[in-house]
C-alpha cells in the first residue's frame, strides 16, 4: 500500500477549513493559570533539562498557592500518565529545602510535601467517585514516590491492600474486581523494589489475593477469547487475558526481587540523594476504603417482577497479539506490560481528540527507557539497542489499537474511534505506519479459518473497508487470489466478500470493482457482485405476471393518491384476483402485500430520504397492510402480514443488503413491524430469497443475518432505555412538584414529622403522563423479552435441530467436535455455515448478557425444555454457553 500522497487537498481555502477544529481560542491567562499550564506542559521539549527550570519557576512564584499547584499535578498525572515518573522527580526536588533557606531550621513542611498532602485530597475525591482510571494513575504516582522515598512504604501497602480487599467482597462484579486488581498490581509493579525490601510477605499477599480472585474466573473466559475452540473447555492460548498477564508480570518481577522494575518503568529520580532521615519523615498515606458500587434504584421492574435494570457486565479482557515478541513487546513481561498499559491509557484518555492521540502515540518513545524502541532512522544519537527490547514503534502502536478494538464482547469505545485513530496515524507518518497496518491486515487475515472469532472477523472487515476508504482503496488484492480455491463460505472468502461489500457501501460498485484483479471480478470468483446493487422491482417487466396490477398501484403512488384510495384499490384488486377465471389465487393476500410494498419501495428507491417520504406519506396504508387488512385494527398487527412485508422488502432489495437493513430499521422505527417480527423473519423467512443470503441451504446465520438480528435487538433495547428515562424524568418532576407544594404548604413544612403525616393523608397519584409512560415501559419490556426469546429459539432450532425439523443443518454437531474441527481443511459451505452460526450464538449470549440475565430463567426454561435429559452435544453446548453468559456457571 502506498501512503505517499495522503490527502492532497484542493485549494488553500479548503485546507484552512479542514483544519478548523485545530483552532484554539485565545483566552486570558492569570499568573496562577500560567504556572499551572507550565506544570502541565512540562517536558514537551526536553524533560530532564526542563526539570530544574520548572522547579525554580514554581519556587519563585510566591506566594505559593498550594491547591493551584496540586491541581496542576493532579491534571498532569491523570491526563498524561506517560509523564508520571517525571512529576514524581519534580515533586521529589520540591521536597528539598531551597539552598538559601538551608540554614533555616523552621519546621514548616517543604513545598513538595504540602503539594503531596493536597494532592491526596484529589485522589480521595477520585476514589469516592470510583473514577477508576484516575484512581489507578494516582496510585502509579504514589508508587513512584514510594521508590523516591517520599511516601512511607507501609502506608502504600495499606493503600494497595484496600484494593485487594475489593476482590474478597461478596458477589463482587467482575468489572469492579478487575479494576481494583489492576490498581493494586500496577502499584506493586512500580513500587516493588521499595515494597519487597520492606516486606516480602506483604508482596506475596497482594499477588496471592489477585491470583485467588483470578482462579474463580474461569468459565467466562470461554466466551470472550478472540480465537475459539468450540470443542474444548480450554481457553485458547493465542491471546492474553488481562489478569493473567498482570499475574505473570508480577511473578517475573517478584522472582528477581523487582530488579526488572528499573528496566521497565522510568525512574528519573533514582539518582537523587535520599532525603535526610534526621529531618525528613516520609508521608503516610491515610487509609482508605474503596466505596461500594452505586446501584441505581429506580424501582422499575417488568410485569413478571423480574428486574429489568441493565447493568453492563464486564468480561475478562483478552488481548490479541499480532506480532512476534522481538517486533512488539509481550505484555506478559514487565517491560512489555509497561508499554502495553502505557499505550492503552493514551488510547483511553485521548479518545476525545484522535489527532492529539495519534501525535502522542508516535511520540511515546520519548517517555520510555532509552532502547525500548528502535530509534528513528536518521536520529542524531543512536542508542545501543537493549537486548530483548528494541521494538518497532508503529507495529506496537497498531497492535495495541487493534487489540483494544477487538476486545469482546465489545470494545470500550466505538469501533470508528479506533479506525479513525489508525487513519490519523497513517496521515502523520505514512511511510512508517503504513507498512505496520499492511502487516497487521495480513496477520489477521491469516488467522481467518483457524478459529478467529466471528465478531472479531466482522470488525476486521469493517476496519479494513473504512481504512481503505480513507486511502484510495489501495489494497493488493492479488495476493489473495489463491484463496479463491477455498470453500465459498470459508472465513477468508467470507471476509473478502464482506470487506468489498462494506467498501461499496462507502463508495460505489464500479469504483471498487476497478480495484480488483480479473480473477476476483469474474462471476465465478464469487467475490463481488457483477452489477451495482440496485433495486429489483419484481413486476417491472411487462412479461411478468401481475405487471399490470402492479402498474396500477404504482401509478396511484406516483400520482400521490391518498392512502385510503390506495387501500380501496388494493381491496378491489384482491377481489378480482380471488375471483379471476383461472381459478383464483390460493393466497391473494400475499400477492397484494408484495405488490403494494414493492411498489411503495419503488417510489422510495431513489434515496434514503425518498424512502422516508414514501413511508411517511403512506403510513395508514402500511398500518393497514400490517394489520392483515383489518382496518383500524390496533395493537401489534398480524404476524403473517408483517412477515410478508419484510419478505417483499427483502425481495425488492435482494441485491443490496445494506438497503434491506435500512428498510427493516425504518419499518421498525415507524412501528409497521416490531423487532420480534424481524427476528422471526431472519431465522425463518429470509431463506425464501436466495440472492440475499450467503447461508442458503440448511438453516444457519452469516454476518448479514446477524446484522439484521442485532438491528432488531438493539431497537428493542433502545426503546426500553428511552421509556425508562422518560419514567425517571417524570417521576422526578412529580416528586419535585409534590415537594414544592409541601414546602409552600404551611409553617410546619420544615417539620419532618408533619411532612410524613401529609404524605399519609394524600397518597401519591401518578399523573396521566407518568401512567402512560409506565404503560409504555411495560409494553416495551414485553417486546424486548419477546425479541430475546425469539432469538434464543431461533438459535436453538439452527444449532440443535431435530431430524424432523425442516432443512436442518446436518453439521451443527460435527463442527463442535474436536475431530470435526481438525478436518476443517475439507469443510464445505454447510460446515462453515454451521460453525459461523455457533459463533453468532456466542456473540448473542455474551453481548446481550446484561439483558438476558433479567430473563434468564423464563427464557431458558422455554427454549431448552426439549433438551431435558438429552446428551446431545449441541444441546449441551447451547446450554453451557447460555449459563456462562447469564452467570449461572
Amino acid at each position: 500500500m502506498s501512503y505517499d500522497r495522503p490527502y492532497r487537498g484542493g485549494g488553500n481555502r479548503r485546507r484552512h477549513r479542514d483544519d478548523y477544529d485545530d483552532r484554539r481560542r485565545d483566552t486570558y491567562e492569570s499568573p496562577a493559570d500560567k504556572l499551572k499550564n507550565a506544570i502541565i506542559r512540562f517536558g514537551e521539549v526536553d524533560v530532564l533539562e526542563e526539570l530544574p527550570r520548572l522547579e525554580k519557576q514554581i519556587r519563585e512564584s510566591t506566594p505559593h498557592v498550594i491547591p493551584n499547584l496540586s491541581e496542576a499535578f493532579r491534571i498532569a498525572v491523570t491526563e498524561q500518565p506517560y509523564k508520571i515518573p517525571y512529576y514524581a522527580a519534580l515533586l521529589r526536588r520540591l521536597h528539598d529545602s531551597p539552598e538559601e533557606d538551608a540554614g533555616d531550621t523552621s519546621d514548616i513542611s517543604s513545598l513538595g510535601k504540602q503539594i503531596l498532602e493536597d494532592f491526596w485530597k484529589g485522589f480521595q475525591a477520585y476514589l469516592d467517585k470510583l473514577a477508576w482510571r484516575e484512581t489507578r494513575l494516582c496510585i502509579h504516582f504514589f508508587a513512584h514516590l514510594a521508590v523516591a522515598k517520599l511516601i512511607a512504604t507501609d502506608s502504600l501497602f495499606g493503600l494497595l491492600q484496600s484494593f485487594t480487599a475489593v476482590l474478597e467482597e461478596f458477589g463482587v462484579s467482575h468489572g469492579r474486581a478487575k479494576k481494583a486488581a489492576v490498581c493494586a498490581a500496577e502499584g506493586l509493579m512500580i513500587a516493588g523494589p521499595a515494597l519487597k525490601s520492606t516486606s516480602a510477605e506483604h508482596v506475596q499477599e497482594i499477588i496471592n489475593a489477585i491470583q485467588a480472585y483470578n482462579d474463580t474466573v474461569t468459565s467466562p473466559k470461554l466466551l470472550v477469547g478472540p480465537v475459539l475452540k468450540l470443542y474444548s473447555d480450554e481457553v485458547s492460548s493465542n491471546a492474553d487475558e488481562l489478569l493473567d498477564t498482570v499475574l505473570q508480570t508480577l511473578r517475573i518481577l517478584d522472582e528477581s526481587d523487582f530488579a526488572e522494575t528499573a528496566s521497565s518503568f522510568s525512574q528519573p529520580y533514582t539518582g537523587y540523594e535520599d532525603p535526610d532521615p534526621a529531618t525528613f519523615t516520609p508521608y503516610n498515606l491515610p487509609s482508605v476504603l474503596v466505596p461500594p458500587e452505586v446501584i441505581e434504584l429506580d424501582g422499575l421492574s417488568t410485569d413478571s417482577g423480574e428486574d429489568a435494570q441493565v447493568k453492563k457486565e464486564e468480561w475478562p479482557e483478552y488481548f490479541l497479539p499480532l506480532f512476534d515478541n522481538d517486533i512488539t513487546p509481550d505484555p506478559k513481561t514487565p517491560a512489555g506490560y509497561a508499554v502495553h498499559t502505557g499505550l492503552f491509557d493514551i488510547l483511553d484518555i485521548f479518545e476525545v481528540n484522535r489527532k492529539e492521540c495519534a501525535r502522542l502515540l508516535l511520540e511515546y518513545p520519548k517517555w520510555t527507557i532509552s532502547g525500548t524502541f528502535k530509534p528513528k532512522p536518521g536520529g542524531e544519537v543512536v542508542p545501543e539497542p537493549v537486548p530483548g527490547k528494541d521494538w518497532q514503534l508503529e507495529s506496537t502502536i497498531i497492535e495495541n489499537i487493534l487489540g483494544a478494538y477487538m476486545v469482546l464482547p465489545e470494545s470500550s469505545h466505538k469501533s470508528i474511534y479506533y479506525i479513525s485513530l489508525i487513519t490519523e496515524l497513517c496521515k502523520l507518518s505514512p511511510s512508517t505506519v503504513g507498512p505496520a497496518v499492511g502487516k497487521s491486515i495480513r496477520k489477521l487475515y491469516s488467522m481467518l479459518g483457524d478459529g478467529l472469532d466471528v465478531e472479531v472477523a466482522r470488525r476486521f472487515a469493517e476496519w479494513f473497508a473504512v481504512h481503505m476508504s480513507n486511502f484510495g482503496f489501495q489494497w493488493v488484492w492479488k495476493e489473495w487470489i489463491p484463496d479463491l480455491s477455498l470453500a465459498v463460505q470459508h472465513p477468508k472468502r467470507a471476509f473478502m466478500r464482506r470487506a468489498l461489500e462494506f467498501e461499496i457501501r462507502l463508495s460505489y460498485h464500479d469504483r471498487i470493482l476497478k480495484t480488483l484483479p480479473a480473477e476476483m471480478q469474474a462471476p465465478e470468483g464469487n467475490t463481488i457482485s457483477e452489477q451495482a446493487p440496485g433495486p429489483d422491482f419484481e413486476y417491472d417487466d411487462p412479461a411478468k405476471p401481475h405487471h399490470d396490477n402492479a402498474q396500477s398501484v404504482l401509478n396511484l403512488f406516483r400520482g400521490r393518491a391518498k392512502a385510503e384510495d390506495v387501500i380501496s384499490h388494493l381491496e378491489t384488486l384482491k377481489t378480482s384476483l380471488e375471483t379471476s377465471d383461472d381459478g383464483g389465487l390460493v393466497n391473494a393476500d400475499v400477492l397484494i402485500r408484495s405488490i403494494a410494498i414493492q411498489s411503495l419501495l419503488h417510489i422510495g428507491a431513489r434515496s434514503f430520504s425518498h424512502l422516508l417520504n414514501a413511508i411517511e406519506r403512506y403510513l395508514p396504508l402500511l398500518r393497514n397492510i400490517a394489520s392483515g387488512g383489518v382496518s383500524s385494527a390496533g395493537g401489534s398487527g398480524n404476524a403473517e402480514a408483517k412477515a410478508d412485508i419484510l419478505t417483499a422488502s427483502a425481495a425488492f432489495w435482494k441485491h443490496n443488503r445494506h438497503m434491506v437493513a435500512i428498510v427493516f430499521d425504518k419499518l421498525m422505527q415507524y412501528q409497521i413491524v416490531d423487532p420480534t417480527d424481524v427476528v422471526g423473519w431472519t431465522f425463518i423467512n429470509r431463506a425464501e430469497i436466495r440472492e440475499l443470503v450467503e447461508a442458503t441451504g440448511p438453516l444457519s446465520l452469516s454476518a448479514f443475518e446477524w446484522d439484521l438480528l442485532k438491528g432488531a435487538l438493539d431497537k428493542a433495547n433502545g426503546r426500553v432505555m428511552i421509556a425508562r428515562r422518560k419514567v425517571v424524568v417524570l417521576r422526578k418532576e412529580e416528586d419535585d412538584t409534590r415537594a414544592r407544594v409541601k414546602a409552600s404548604g404551611g409553617a410546619d413544612g420544615m417539620d419532618v414529622d408533619a411532612e410524613e403525616k401529609a404524605e399519609d393523608e394524600s397518597p401519591a397519584v401518578d399523573s396521566p403522563a407518568l401512567t402512560t409512560a409506565l404503560k409504555a415501559f411495560a409494553s416495551l419490556t414485553r417486546e424486548q423479552k419477546g425479541a430475546m426469546s425469539r432469538t434464543l429459539d431461533g438459535f436453538v432450532s439452527c444449532l440443535a435441530p431435530a431430524a424432523t425439523d425442516s432443512n436442518p443443518n446436518p453439521y451443527s454437531r460435527v463442527v463442535i467436535s474436536e475431530d470435526g474441527w481438525n478436518e476443517r481443511a475439507g469443510w464445505e459451505k454447510d460446515q462453515w455455515n454451521a460453525w459461523e452460526t455457533w459463533g453468532w450464538y456466542r456473540q448473542f449470549c455474551r453481548s446481550y448478557a446484561p439483558y438476558l440475565r433479567n430473563y434468564s430463567t423464563t427464557l431458558s426454561t422455554v427454549s431448552f425444555a426439549k433438551f431435558e435429559g438429552s446428551t446431545d452435544p449441541a444441546a449441551e453446548l447451547l446450554k453451557k454457553t447460555w449459563n456462562v453468559a447469564t452467570g449461572q456457571e
Partner: protein, 248 residues
C-alpha cells in the same frame, strides 16, 4: 429547588463542552466551530444552548456525487441504537435551481451523543475520497436544504477558483465514470419539493398503538400529533431563525 447549584452549573458547562469537563491540555474535537451567521437573530448564548443539545450535524465538503446511502453507512458508525439512537434522517443539500446535490447535507440523529461522536471520529476523515467536515448544527428548518449561492449552489462554490471534479468542476475532461454517476445524480432529486412536509421527519419515539383511532381522535380534537412527525418537527425547528445553511 436548586439543591446543588454549583454542581449543576458544572454539569451544564461540561455538557456544553461535549460531556468532557474543560481541560487545559485536552481539547476535544467535538466542540462546535466558531461559525456564526452574521444575519442570525439568535444570540451566541441561545445558539450555544441549542448546540449543547443538538442532534443535527452539518456536513460539508461532500462530493456532488455522494449519495445518502454512503452518508448513512459512514454516520451509522457513530450511532448508538441500543441507547435509543440511530440516524433519524438525512437532508441532502440541493442546488436551488437545478435540484442537484451541491456538496453539503444535514445528518440528524436521535441523540446528542451520536452527533458528538461524529464530531470526534468522522469529521476530518474521508467519504467518497474527500475529507468531509462536520459541525454541530442548530437543527434543520424548512428551506435550508437549498444552496444560497447566486447560481443556486453553495456560496463557497460561487467563489471557488480551483478545479474540483467532485464538486461540479467537470466538463470535457470529466471522467467517463463520473458522467454515469452524474446522470443518476441529476435525476435523483428532480422531484424535490419545498414547502412544509417536503422533507420526511424520520420517525419519532415509540408510541402505544391506538386501539380505535377515529374515536380517540375525535375526543382529543386536533393536536399537533395528528399531523404526523414531519409537521411536529417543522414546528419545533422554527425555534431558530435565519440560520444560514451555508458556512464557510
Amino acid at each position: 429547588m436548586n439543591q446543588r447549584p454549583i454542581a449543576n452549573f458544572e454539569l451544564c458547562t461540561g455538557e456544553l463542552l461535549g460531556g468532557v469537563r474543560k481541560r487545559i491540555r485536552l481539547s476535544p474535537l467535538d466542540q462546535p466551530s466558531n461559525y456564526k451567521d452574521s444575519q442570525t437573530r439568535v444570540d451566541r448564548q441561545k445558539q450555544n444552548d441549542l448546540l449543547s443539545k443538538s442532534t443535527t450535524l452539518y456536513i460539508g465538503n461532500l462530493s456532488f456525487y455522494t449519495t445518502e446511502e454512503q452518508i448513512y453507512e459512514l454516520f451509522t458508525k457513530c450511532a448508538s441504537p441500543e441507547d435509543g439512537g440511530g440516524i433519524k434522517r438525512i437532508i441532502m443539500g440541493l442546488d436551488r435551481n437545478t435540484r442537484t446535490p451541491c456538496g453539503f447535507c444535514f445528518v440528524e440523529y436521535y441523540t446528542h451523543a451520536e452527533a458528538l461522536a461524529s464530531m470526534r471520529y468522522v469529521s476530518g476523515t474521508k467519504l467518497d475520497e474527500r475529507i468531509i467536515r462536520c459541525d454541530l448544527d442548530l437543527g434543520y428548518k424548512e428551506g435550508r436544504q437549498f444552496g444560497r449561492g447566486k447560481s443556486g449552489g453553495q456560496v463557497r462554490d460561487e467563489h471557488r477558483q480551483d478545479y474540483d471534479p467532485g464538486r461540479g468542476g467537470w466538463g470535457a475532461q470529466a471522467q467517463r465514470l463520473e458522467i454515469e454517476r452524474r446522470r443518476e445524480v441529476e435525476e435523483r432529486y428532480a422531484d424535490a419539493q419545498d414547502g412544509p412536509g417536503a422533507v420526511a421527519g424520520g420517525g419519532g419515539d415509540w408510541k402505544e398503538a391506538e386501539t380505535s383511532g377515529n374515536e380517540s381522535r375525535l375526543k382529543r380534537g386536533r393536536s399537533p400529533e395528528d399531523e404526523g412527525d414531519s409537521m411536529r418537527l417543522g414546528q419545533r425547528s422554527r425555534l431558530d431563525e435565519d440560520v444560514d445553511a451555508e458556512r464557510m
